[in-house]
Symmetry: C2
Subunit: 139 residues, 2 copies
DNA sequence: AAAATATTCAACCGATCGGTTGACAATAAA
DNA sequence: TTTATTGTCAACCGATCGGTTGAATATTTT
């Protein structure tokens, strides 16, 4: 007993820091899954997968319902919402830049309109490329 | 060289899984800080704090500018935005419930209005308590 | 030049992590 | 009742983690 105070969000972020576990969550986003169903796509022993599931469970990210000899797992969104909200605190740091860019473009636009007053329809804001997002793939 | 493919977001979530590092990020949200300024509030050696900062740095969460013998650190919001967006995928799982609640309340409301047609101003949606958020404190 | 300051580096330590294997327990099917 | 099937548990392993200490490096101050 040496650990004094482990914030719950520690456990959540730690659980999310592993690709195998993130893929399991993605799978559970599709619906309920048994332990072996969750384990199947991952090339590791069932015991190893079972450990990952236990990590997710103790982080509160999933819950399991034991039905006979199978364990049905389902996603538990609460902790994900908490983590999401924690990150939201920093939202201004990445939206601020876009705001600045947007303002600059607006000013540019305004100048253009001032120069060319016959132009009636203002340009749409160009496809806001959120560069490094890198969604999709697997996890 | 045994590690094949460590997804960048692994490193980000891992960096966020430690309270000391999260507090450092919070501090950096206030503005630039030197290594010793970041270390000061935490009761550990400077070397230990330095390691934490290096973890944040290699996750891309901060950048440092070396000015003479001091290192100035600043927040780098990109990876936070990425993590935030990763979590956004699951947003429907925690908003769905609220949607259901909201719909139920609307129906209730509609019934009430149907019963009492003289009533003109509809009830505001009650203080949406997002229970387990637990903001503030330190990290 | 000498001393103080800011920070990293290297070696070490115990704890935890992610994986393995083999045994075990419980349920379902033959 | 035997035999599969589903899943956990316990012990072990090497790697990584979070911390320490002492020395090294680079810069600034005196």
């Amino acid at each position: 007993m040496v650990e004094l105070q482990t914030h719950p969000i520690d456990t959540v972020f730690h659980a999310l820091s592993d690709g195998t576990r993130r893929r399991m969550l993605r799978e559970l986003a599709q619906g309920e899954r048994t332990v072996s169903q969750l384990a199947e796509p991952h090339e590791m022993s069932l015991a190893a997968a079972s450990k990952h599931i236990k990590v997710l469970e103790s982080a509160g990210l999933i819950r399991r319902e034991i039905q006979g000899r199978t364990h049905l797992c389902r996603l538990e969104p609460g902790p994900l919402a908490t983590a999401h909200e924690w990150l939201t605190f920093y939202e201004r740091f990445w939206t601020d830049r876009l705001d600045i860019l947007e303002r600059l473009l607006r000013e540019e636009d305004a100048q253009k309109n001032a120069r060319d007053q016959t132009q009636k329809n203002p340009l749409k804001f160009p496809a806001s490329q959120k560069s490094e997002t890198e969604t999709g793939e697997d996890q």
